[in-house]
């Protein structure tokens, strides 16, 4: 998704407003900032919550960009409408493990709800830096059994999908990971992310490992797979970088998130396309840092995001798959091909191994980076 510069600017303003409306900056500090930049405090309706004595707001941390707009429109705003007087600010700077750990250890926890994934919840939960999910308020029955654990509850599904350029091979397109590893049959530059989730599974499937036997992952075999293609491959860091590489025809086939492959297909008028076949499907999850200050409101907010209609709207705007099977079942016709959780799509994919990642992710990531770094 290419954003207009003006939109970026608005995002920055929004972000600033949300940060200032929270307890991140108190009233005095806020007024000092306004004075320093020469702006009357009322100008941008920048009203620090603390100054007005309203409810303490929640801070939701996600990964920025369109996720901020989408979650605000379909999770936060309906929640605020249902609970007048409450506030939820979205911080799009990304709840990486290092930041969570640092925040909890420092004892100054300013985040309440974090958008991450289930295996990280398992990993960090065992380190005792996450709150237990309060299943008295959050409804465990609204997600598949494999999409909830002690420290995380699914909030949407996404998948690593085989994405390709339809024009490169005279009408033929790759349909399996084996094709991606077939340098002769499908010449061209490959794309994988510089993270292990999805990349390891794809290498194993290409090497003929059956879906049921992917886990526990045979690291040597997976890494040998990547060593075989790495000279033809761009390993992108940011997911947007991968999307741009496909759009600019720097790469012709490889792995991308379905939430990016779909706008990519639209942006390129179908020149780039993707398949759920042999995709690796994951669940993003809400997690709460140990010592979060939001109290009961945290769990009420999370419960509110389990509403099927809100999840359907988020699929429409952002391509995030509903985690609530009831929402997947109720999808209108046009959204069904987008939803990784929709039964006909889900069945073609491999569910990502939450337990394996919780235990091995750290070491495996280092080994992966060592293998691809020449």
């Amino acid at each position: 998704m290419t954003q207009e510069p003006a939109q970026d600017h608005l995002d920055a303003l929004d972000h600033f407003r949300e940060r200032t409306e929270g307890r991140v900056i108190d009233r005095r500090g806020f007024l000092a900032i306004c004075a320093a930049i020469g702006m009357p405090a009322g100008l941008a309706r920048l009203t620090p919550a603390a100054a007005q004595g309203t409810n303490r707001e929640l801070v939701l941390v996600n990964w920025g960009g369109d996720a901020v707009r989408g979650m605000r429109a379909h999770f936060v705003e309906p929640y605020i409408r249902a609970n007048p007087g409450r506030r939820v600010a979205i911080d799009g700077t990304g709840p990486s493990s290092g930041r969570i750990r640092l925040m909890v250890q420092s004892g100054r926890v300013t985040w309440d709800v974090m958008d991450r994934n289930l295996h990280t919840a398992l990993e960090l939960g065992r380190e005792n830096i996450l709150e237990d999910i309060d299943y008295a308020i959050v409804d465990r029955s609204k997600v598949r059994p494999e999409h909830a654990n002690q420290w995380g509850i699914g909030n949407y599904t996404y998948a690593h999908v085989l994405t390709y350029n339809t024009r490169r091979w005279g009408g033929r397109v790759p349909t399996t990971w084996k094709d991606v590893w077939d340098l002769r049959g499908f010449p061209g530059r490959r794309a994988f992310r510089r993270t292990i989730d999805g990349a390891l599974e794809a290498a194993l499937m290409a090497d003929g490992v059956a879906k049921e036997s992917i886990y526990p992952i045979d690291m040597k075999r997976a890494l040998d797979g990547h060593k075989a293609i790495k000279n033809q491959t761009i390993y992108y860091n940011a997911i947007a970088e991968g999307q741009a590489a496909f759009r600019d025809n720097e790469v012709q086939l490889g792995l991308l998130l379905n939430t990016r492959s779909w706008p990519l297909k639209n942006d390129t008028n179908g020149v780039c396309d993707y398949t759920f076949n042999e995709g690796i499907v994951w669940v993003a999850a809400w997690m709460v840092p140990k010592g979060a200050q939001g109290g009961r409101a945290i769990w009420e907010f999370i419960a509110s995001t389990q509403e099927p209609q809100r999840q359907i709207e988020l699929l429409r705007s952002n391509g995030y798959g509903p985690v609530n099977p009831a929402a997947s079942a109720a999808l209108p016709e046009d959204l069904r091909p987008l939803d990784p959780g929709r039964e006909e799509n889900y069945a073609r994919m491999l569910p990502g191994g939450v337990a394996w990642y919780a235990e091995h992710a750290t070491n495996a990531l280092q080994q992966y980076l060592d293998a691809i770094s020449s």
Binding site: S96, S97, G98, R99, R101, R189, R194, K230, T233, I234, Y235, Y236, N237, D248, N249, E250, T362, N363, L365, Q366, Q367, L369, D370, I372, S373, S374
Partner: protein, 289 residues
């Protein structure tokens, strides 16, 4: 103004010096509090996490992963330094020989990239050099090549980006040194029968040795710490030490390993600086005092 200076002049010498020390104090306090102290924290973590001792430093000798990152960093830094020095020397020499007016313009052109962020420059290189980029499209248009040249998203790309970023440092250091050289010496050499090449090799080049040494050390040290350029231009396959450290801090959460590498890098750089100060008169490096 003059009243003030008379007052100071009337002070005894010792108080006068004390006043200047006082002026240094805010900067010193800032440096100590916000730089030196946290730096000690970094060193401390490197010998206490995950358990006290020198276990992290042992990895320098035992971990293939750490050694590969160090080797990659060293190799790229050496290559960058070499290429930068050769290109930079040519430019600095041309600048020294040009007329005053031309020198000003050339200096401006050298300094100009300095004002653009490394991030922007890296993305600009991608636009220029990627397979469907400006250069490859032009070359294919003229029929010179059939397959696009792989100039970015690999180590070649990293080198191009880093040499570009480092050139001003090398040129300015060499140029400052060359400005201190009396060009009449060259004329004298010619007058005594040396050809242009011999005059350059036996008169000019030896006099620029401090400049060459200085530029080498400067470029090499800065090259060791590159982060953004390899991350963007390397296609994800060039893992240099700075990114390796960031990875340990942000992703794998092995802070002991990350801080150990940061400390090692810091000590190496200080070691190189110390060596340079032994060999070189640093003041002379930047032209005649």
């Amino acid at each position: 103004m003059s009243a003030a200076s008379t007052t100071f002049a009337a002070q005894p010498r010792r108080g006068f010096r004390g006043f200047y020390v006082l002026m240094l104090a805010p900067a010193l306090v800032l440096l100590l509090g916000l730089y030196v102290l946290p730096l000690f924290g970094v060193v401390l973590i490197s010998v206490t996490e995950p358990r006290p001792g020198l276990g992290n430093y042992e990895l320098l000798l035992t971990s293939a992963s750490v050694q590969r990152a160090l080797w990659t960093t060293g190799r790229i830094a050496v290559l960058t330094t070499l290429i930068t020095l050769i290109l930079g020397y040519i430019v600095a020499y041309a600048m020294r020989m040009a007329s005053e007016g031309a020198q000003r313009w050339m200096l401006f052109c050298v300094l100009f990239p300095f004002w653009i962020s490394v991030l922007v420059r890296s993305f600009a290189w991608i636009t220029l050099l990627r397979s469907e980029g400006v250069l490859n499209t032009a070359l294919r248009g003229t029929g010179l090549i059939e397959e696009p040249l792989m100039l970015v998203r690999n180590e070649t790309g990293v080198l191009i980006g880093m040499v570009h970023a480092m050139l001003p440092y090398a040129i300015l250091t060499l140029y400052a040194n060359m400005r201190g050289i009396d060009l009449r010496l060259m004329t004298a050499a010619r007058g005594l029968g040396a050809g242009p090449v011999a005059a350059f090799l036996r008169v000019f080049l030896p006099m620029t040795r401090p400049g060459i040494l200085g530029a080498t050390v400067l470029v090499f040290i800065i090259s060791l710490g590159f982060y953004v350029t390899p991350a963007i231009l390397g296609g994800g396959r060039t893992l240099m030490i700075a990114e390796y450290v960031a990875l340990q801090i942000n992703e794998t959460l092995r802070w002991g390993l990350g801080t150990m590498l940061a400390t090692t890098l810091g000590i190496s750089v200080m070691g190189i600086m110390w060596l340079m100060s032994r060999v070189l008169d640093v003041k002379r490096l930047f032209g005649p005092a």
